[in-house]
Symmetry: C2
Subunit: 257 residues, 2 copies
């Protein structure tokens, strides 16, 4: 039964893996049959804690898992968001001691897979090992893009960039890039882009008034993608969601199904 529940989301993850690294039919079957356990968490809850030794990795079925760090004075900074079909801590398969903890930002469902299963799959199939490695590299590249956005962007630009990224990542699943669920509060957004919740609120209003995007409580509606893209200095190449890696092109049409 857990297998059935995991099947759909394993297929989503597999699809994402294959965008970056080809896999044989046999390898695909191995991934599709990874056994796991469904875990539900409600609202803002710790999923794995700092310093803990994890025994499993967590595939996001629904909701959002956020990785974060904290400063000495208790300020929180998210370093990654994981949505449906993302493996939140694949790196834990090889480095199980948690160096940045995970939290949910809303009611969230996970499909947890024993890390030994991932490890043995990687040990037995070099191309699976490569696919997992690529997944971690892609995540690292997303982190690098966040660094550029936060280090050098204005408040408006940082928020626009985050919304663009989420639009693309949700869009590749739903086929619709201009509307997606926003499972984050304005405080969460602030913790992701290094701003206070108050200023996030002001900038979201500014974005709305500019006509580029409406970011409401439950969902985001993009009115002018090209404007939003320019506001965020966003180029989706780094997400590797396209077969044709399109760093060069400025306006990328997502492959709509």
């Amino acid at each position: 039964m857990t297998l059935v529940e995991g099947g759909e989301v394993l297929a989503l993850w597999l699809q994402r893996l294959m965008l970056r690294s080809p896999l044989s039919q046999q390898d695909q079957d191995i991934v599709r049959s990874f056994p796991g356990v469904i875990r539900k968490v409600d609202g803002t809850r710790d999923i794995v804690r700092l310093g803990e030794r994890t025994s499993h990795v967590s595939l996001v079925v629904d909701g959002i898992v956020a990785r974060f760090g904290q400063t000495a004075d208790g300020n929180r900074q998210f370093t990654a968001f994981f949505i449906r079909g993302d493996m939140a801590d694949l790196h834990a398969a090889v480095m199980p001691v948690v160096s940045s903890p995970l939290q949910s930002t809303c009611p969230t469902v996970l499909y947890q897979i024993d890390r030994e299963i991932i490890r043995t799959a990687a040990a037995q199939s070099p191309s699976l090992a490569k696919a997992f490695w690529c997944d971690c590299v892609t995540e690292s590249q997303i982190g690098a893009e966040w660094l550029v956005s936060i280090g050098r962007g204005s408040a408006l630009s940082r928020i626009a960039h985050l919304l663009c990224e989420l639009a693309c990542r949700y869009g590749v699943m739903s086929g619709e890039r201009d509307r997606f669920p926003l499972l984050l509060t304005q405080a969460h957004i602030g913790d992701a882009v290094g701003l206070t919740a108050v200023h996030v609120n002001r900038m979201i209003r500014a974005l709305r008034e500019s006509g580029s995007v409406i970011a409401e409580a439950g969902h985001v509606t993009i009115r002018d993608w090209d404007l939003l893209r320019r506001q965020g200095g966003f180029d989706p190449g780094y997400l590797h969601l396209n077969d044709l890696d399109s760093r060069s092109g400025l306006h990328i049409e997502l492959e709509l199904q």
Copy 2:
């Protein structure tokens, strides 16, 4: 001849790999005999450019290699620094299209290894594949720590954090943590921590006046490690330079040789 020149720095890299993932004698011999070509670059030069398809990976023999991104208005943000013994773009072994370019910040020497050599080594030895994977994960965790520092730290704290990190990374080689070469200008530091060069200058003065650290043109001298650590909110656990992973402990003595 190139082999001889690469030998020492390959041993350094190997040592770092083994801190995170054990390797058999045979695997170690494979790494130690990776053939490569020495390449020298002077001052601030592009090493690989955005969008390029790389054919090799670059091990840093001397100097500094910096990975960076750029905003639309031309501002630069470094996302990683690589020093002697670091593999600057191991991820290129599996994802050769450059999503963030590399630059030297000073006269720098590289040992360049064909990416196919890395790929076949990883394909033939699962434990080597795991070691390479771990290296990329560690780099990603360093990036996450930069995000926390830049997103939530004050100007003083960001610079202190960077100096702490460099002290530990150089210290594990030299055996001396309190003095290391500073192969960066104040403008480089600004581009790493998201500040202007002018403000970096002021904060370096503030750090000096606080008695924690003296950051001069060519080298850094740490006067009060514990103070600097607190100023930067720094905990070296994420660097994985110790056998005993010591996230919990607050003052970590580096393993001095």
